[in-house]
Each structure stands twice: as structure tokens, then as C-alpha cells.
Amino acid sequence: MSLRELILAGFLVAFGGVIVALSLEIAPGVQTDPLGPRFFPLALGSGIALCGLLLAAAEFLFRGEPSLAGLLSDASPEAEEDAGPFSPARFLGAIGATALYVAAFDPLGYLLATPPYIAAILLIHGGARSRTLLITPFVVTIALYVTFRFGLLIPVPDGPLEAILPW
């Protein structure tokens, strides 16, 4: 019996339950529509919760039978061949940097927000040479800007630079 699988099963049951509860708050719709807008999310929430229950049941019923693994639960939970060890700091750092970048995208503008973001990702990942760290953020930023602004004619936000830029 895997604790991880049981926790995941519990999460599915809880998530399905929340969806069912939220679905019941949806306005019932019109009389000519027998199912109404509530039915589909209600059914899906129940389905997700049922999957969680079955997953938990499978863990209890088929524990210690590796030949059955893979049908109802993972054959090898740790399976990710060729992958390095998990680094929580890098993972959270990448999410944090991306969240900050997205938040700064509109107010700061693309040209000001992107180079620090690229530099941050290079630093978080590690292994980049100092020359790469200095050049890449600007080269990538300008290449993407030119492609979207002048190639695809998409008005990329310029932020405070809008007053200075000639276009």
C-alpha cells in the first residue's frame, strides 16, 4: 500500500466533493433543457470523487501484487527515467520568477521586464557561463520583440518606454 497513492486518492475525493458542492450553487436553467447547466459539472465532480475512491480501494485490495500495478495504479511511482534529483528550490524559484514576470509584464512593459526574468531563470537553473548570463537576456528579448512586434504585428506592451520608443 502506497501512502502517496492514498493521499492522491483522498485529494481526488476532496476535489470532486468541492466541485459537486459548487455545482449545486449553479442556477438550474430553463425547463426545456432537462439536464440544465448543473448536470455536467455535477457528474464530473462525482466522477472525479469516484475515481479517488476506486484508487484508494485498489490500493487496499491489490497491495503487494506488483503484477497488477499499472492497471489501477502506477507501475512505478518514482518512474521518470533519465531525470535528475528533484530540486524544490529551483522549482519554486522558477515559479516565483515567472509569477513576478507575468505581474510585471503589463506595467513595466515587455522590454524592461523580460531581461531580468531571463537572467533570473538562467541563475535559478545554474550552469550558465557569465558571458551567456550577460548576453542571452538581451538577445532573446530583442529577438522575441522583433518577431512579435514587427513580424506578427502584435502590440506588445511597452510600459514606461512607450513615450520614448519611436514606433
Binding site: 492522491l8 466541485i19 459548487l22 455545482s23 449553479i26 442556477a27 438550474p28 430553463v30 426545456t32 433543457d33 432537462p34 440544465g36 447547466p37 455536467f40 459539472p41 464530473l44 465532480g45 466522477g47 475515481c51 476506486l54 484508487l55 501484487e65 503484477s67 492497471l71 489501477l72 495504479s73 502506477d74 507501475a75 511511482p77 521518470e80 533519465d82 531525470a83 535528475g84 534529483p85 528533484f86 530540486s87 529551483r90 522549482f91 524559484g93 522558477a94 515559479i95 515567472t98 509569477a99 507575468v102 509584464f105 523580460t114 531563470i121 538562467l122 535559478i124 537553473h125 551567456t132 542571452t136 532573446v140 522575441l144 512579435f148 506578427l152 502584435i154 502590440p155 506588445v156 506592451p157
Partner: protein, 508 residues
């Protein structure tokens, strides 16, 4: 208009404007993307989606078809030269490809991969055209109940096959379906899961979700699990050498086996290119006149998996275009591109938008023909791309994703969604859920719900409508079969295991 006129019009449409340039760009990006480990065919296609915003629907599909075809070949480049498959599907190719490279025959192996792959892809497209048109004639008679049953069947089939766990696959599919319910209900105008946010009234942005689940999650994975350093290129001066007629004859049998396997596996939704290339490798060895050479540098060992890998494209598109059921992640992205352009994917695509489908047929033929010249020219660029520092690649891709998703509606909520679903996709990956099944749910969700509700409006709430119509009943029966199959197999294995355990005891 007859078939040939439609096809001719498709070629004209595909070649109009910057058609050839867009196809070549798609193929080139596909080859480079496929060659870089971590950017699989589906990720390369997802990253190309923002570039389709400025294109019309047929051109967008052709661009994506080019990326798909290019990635199929691109994966074999590092597999042959560096013993490092660019895509999972090219893993079978390295078994002999790398040995050939060590023997100084890398250029010939790349040539065989390119030519045989193109042959396989072209044959599969001919079969695709031959199958889709009659299937389209049948599907045109489907009503709402049949379309709902078809959507349900497609969903369970992929959810069951695409993930490591059947139940988690089904749960992932449900999650994808659930995402399509967010926003204003189109039939009644009721608000669902909007939590008072005006931004959510139009629902979740499909493209951002898809890019998040496929591409952002992959980049986060590469950051959180730094991989081993890449191998060295075996061939100092890598190039492409085409096989001559005698060499092509020698790999003819393997090419035929690869084409058949790729087509059959491709038509089965969810089976995928990786399975097809390994099956083709094994089958080619079984049918080969010189099976002892496999694993020791056999050209047939390169030809069979690469042909299968490329032939999957045509097979995948059979259920995608005829029934609206995407056969793979890549096919699901093609359907998402249709949604992006306001076209509802589904079984009536061929009848409602024949011009689009025929342009895609023509485009598929053209992009696969373009593979040969582009494949030769782009090889050096691929080797340069393979030398890129992984952090440079990851940072560039993440920056592209943010600006790309923003470009869709000029809406900063789109990159936010891509980020959120990137984290969800990462979690799904490490906990064994299937992002592919979730994406399938997103693609089929609106169709499944609207047709279910329409069916019950037609029948005045009578559920018997689903069992009194023969086609619908058969499809629902098949769906039930797919759902119960794992439980049945589990019970069977337990029974066999008990019998085996009981046999020695009975003997003693």
C-alpha cells in the same frame, strides 16, 4: 465539386500567399524542436500556436502539420549522432542508428531516416485521404446522441491508454472536461465557476491551458530535475547521405513493415508514435532476412522505426478528421488550433469545412515533401541547437510562452493561466496523471456536453434515446467495454495467479 477538384483547390490554397515559406518554417522549427531533448513534437507544436494567431485557419493547420512532420524526423538526429533520443518516439531508432554512427555511417543513417520517414508519411496520408472521405459520409448521418456517444468513447479510450494509471487517466479526462464548463453556459446563460470574475465569463483560454500543461510543465520539469549532460556528437562532420536504389531495396521490407505498423497504431487513438516505432522495430527484425544485424548496425533497424514514427501522423489524423477524436497530443493541438480560429472540431468537420480539410491534405503532402530539402539544410542548425546550454533554451522558451500566450487576446490573464496550468501539469506528471487525457477533455468537452443536452431536449428527457439508436448503443457499449477492460484484466490475472499458486500444492 469532385474529389480531384477539391484536392486541387486544396493545393492552390496551401500554396497561396506565403504558403511554402510557412510550411518550410514549420518543418524547420519541427526538426529543430524535435532534435532538442525536452521539446517533443507536442511541445514544439504548442510553442508554435502563438504564431498561428496571425494566420487563417488552413494556414495555421499547415504550419502545425509541418511542425509535427518535422519533429518526427528531428528526434532521430540526436538519437543517431549522440545516442540521445530527441523525442520518445525516436528511442527505437538509436538502437541501430548510434551503432551505425560509431561505424562511420551516420550520414547514411540520417539519409535512410529522412527518406524512409518521408515515404511512410506520404503513404499514410494517401491512406488517410482514402479512409477519411468514406468515414465522413457515414458520420454525416449522425445525430446528437451518436455525436455524444462518439465523444464519450474517444475520451475513455485515450484516458485509458495515455497514462500510467487507468483511473488517473479517467480522472484527468474528467478534469479537462470540467475546465470547459467554466464561464457562461451557452444554452441557458447561467454562470458556472466564474466566482464573480468578469474575466472568467468567456471561460478558460484553451490555448493557454494547453501550452501550460504541455510546455510550461516541461520547462519546470527540466529546471526542477536537471538532466545529465548531453552526449558528444559521434560524427565529427555530420551530414546527410541519401541511400541509393540498392540500399533502398534492402530496407524496403522494413519500410513496408514500418508503414503498416505506423498506420495501424496511429489509427488507434492513444497508442502513439513511441509504441509504433518499437513495435515496428521488433516486427522488422522478425521479418528481416538478416535479423542478426539488428542492434549491431542494421539500416533496417533505422528504417522501420522511423517509417512507423512518421506514418503515425496520417493514421492519427483518421479519427481526428473523420470523427473529431484526436489520436494523440499532436492531433489534439491541431484541433485546439481550430478552436482558436472559431471552428468547432467534431465529426462534421469534413462536411462543414471541406475546403479546410482538403487544404490540410494538400499541406500534409507538401510538408512531407519539403522535409527532404529542409532536413538536409537544417541539420547543421540542429547540431548548433543541441550545443545550446539547457538554461538558455529553457529561459528562451518560457519568455516565448509568456509573450505568445499574451499575444492571443492581448490579455495578461492568459500567461497567468499558462503558469497555473504549468504547475498543475508538473504535478500531474510527477503524480502519474495524464495531461494528454486532460487536453482531450478540453477539446471534446464543449461538444460532449452540448450534444448530451441536445439529445435529451430532443427526447424530452428520455435517456432511452441513447440505447434505442443502434449506432449510439454500439458506441456506448464499446465505451463501457473500454472502461471495464482493466478491471476484467485485473480479475483475470488474479485468477491465473491463484491457479498457478494452487497447481504445485495440488501436485504434492
Amino acid at each position: 465539386m469532385g474529389f480531384l477538384e477539391h484536392l486541387f483547390a486544396g493545393f492552390v490554397s496551401a500554396l497561396s500567399g506565403y504558403g511554402i515559406l510557412i510550411m518550410a518554417a514549420g518543418v524547420a522549427w519541427g526538426i529543430v524542436g524535435g532534435a532538442i531533448p525536452g521539446i517533443s513534437g507536442a511541445v514544439a507544436m504548442a510553442l508554435a500556436l502563438p504564431f498561428t494567431f496571425a494566420l487563417d485557419a488552413p494556414t495555421a493547420l499547415i504550419l502545425l502539420a509541418g511542425v509535427w512532420a518535422g519533429a518526427n524526423y528531428g528526434g532521430s538526429i540526436p538519437a543517431i549522432l549522440m545516442r540521445m533520443p530527441g523525442t520518445p518516439a525516436s528511442a527505437a531508432c538509436l538502437l541501430d542508428g548510434y551503432v551505425l554512427a560509431q561505424q562511420g555511417r551516420a550520414a547514411k543513417a540520417l539519409g535512410v531516416s529522412l527518406i524512409c520517414g518521408t515515404i511512410g508519411a506520404l503513404i499514410s496520408i494517401v491512406v488517410l485521404i482514402a479512409l477519411v472521405l468514406p468515414l465522413g459520409e457515414i458520420v454525416v448521418h449522425f445525430g446528437s446522441p451518436e455525436v455524444f456517444a462518439l465523444a464519450l468513447f474517444g475520451l475513455t479510450l485515450i484516458a485509458g491508454l495515455s497514462g500510467p494509471s487507468f483511473l488517473k487517466g479517467i480522472a484527468s479526462g474528467f478534469f479537462g472536461l470540467l475546465l470547459t464548463t467554466v464561464g457562461l453556459d451557452t444554452l441557458t446563460g447561467s454562470m458556472r465557476f466564474t466566482f464573480g470574475s468578469a474575466e472568467l465569463l468567456t471561460g478558460i483560454d484553451t490555448i493557454s491551458v494547453m501550452i501550460g500543461l504541455f510546455a510550461v510543465s516541461e520547462m519546470f520539469y527540466l529546471i526542477a530535475h536537471p538532466a545529465r549532460p548531453a552526449g558528444e556528437v559521434v560524427a565529427g562532420r555530420a551530414g546527410t547521405a541519401f541511400p541509393n536504389f540498392r540500399e533502398l531495396r534492402e530496407v524496403g521490407r522494413a519500410t513496408f513493415v514500418g508503414t503498416v505498423v505506423g498506420l495501424v497504431v496511429g489509427i488507434m487513438p492513444g497508442a502513439g508514435a513511441t509504441a509504433s516505432s518499437f513495435v515496428a522495430y521488433n516486427e522488422a527484425r522478425r521479418w528481416s532476412k538478416r535479423p542478426e544485424l539488428f542492434g549491431k548496425g542494421s539500416m533496417e533497424g533505422v528504417a522501420a522505426p522511423e517509417t512507423a514514427n512518421n506514418a503515425v501522423q496520417g493514421g492519427d489524423l483518421v479519427p481526428t478528421l473523420a470523427l473529431g477524436i484526436p489520436g494523440s497530443n499532436s492531433a489534439a493541438i491541431m484541433l485546439a488550433a481550430l478552436l482558436l480560429h472559431g471552428i468547432m472540431p467534431g465529426p462534421f468537420l469534413l462536411t462543414k469545412h471541406p475546403d479546410l480539410v482538403f487544404t490540410l491534405f494538400a499541406g500534409l503532402i507538401l510538408v512531407n515533401l519539403l522535409m527532404i530539402p529542409v532536413g538536409i539544410v537544417i541539420l547543421r542548425l540542429c547540431l548548433l541547437a543541441l550545443k545550446l546550454d539547457p538554461p538558455v533554451l529553457i529561459a528562451s522558451v518560457l519568455a516565448l510562452i509568456v509573450i505568445g500566450t499574451y499575444a492571443g487576446d492581448l490579455f495578461v490573464l492568459n500567461p497567468v493561466q499558462a503558469l497555473i496550468f504549468g504547475v498543475i501539469g508538473y504535478g500531474m506528471r510527477i503524480w502519474g496523471f495524464s495531461a494528454a487525457a486532460a487536453v482531450l477533455g478540453i477539446v471534446l468537452g464543449v461538444l460532449a456536453e452540448s450534444e448530451l443536452r441536445r439529445s435529451l431536449i430532443i427526447s424530452h428527457g428520455e435517456w432511452s434515446i441513447f440505447v434505442t439508436r443502434p449506432v449510439c448503443a454500439v458506441l456506448l457499449f464499446l465505451t463501457l467495454g473500454v472502461l471495464l477492460y482493466p478491471a476484467f484484466m485485473t480479475a483475470l490475472r488474479r485468477w491465473r495467479a491463484r491457479r498457478v499458486a494452487a497447481a504445485p500444492a495440488a501436485k504434492s
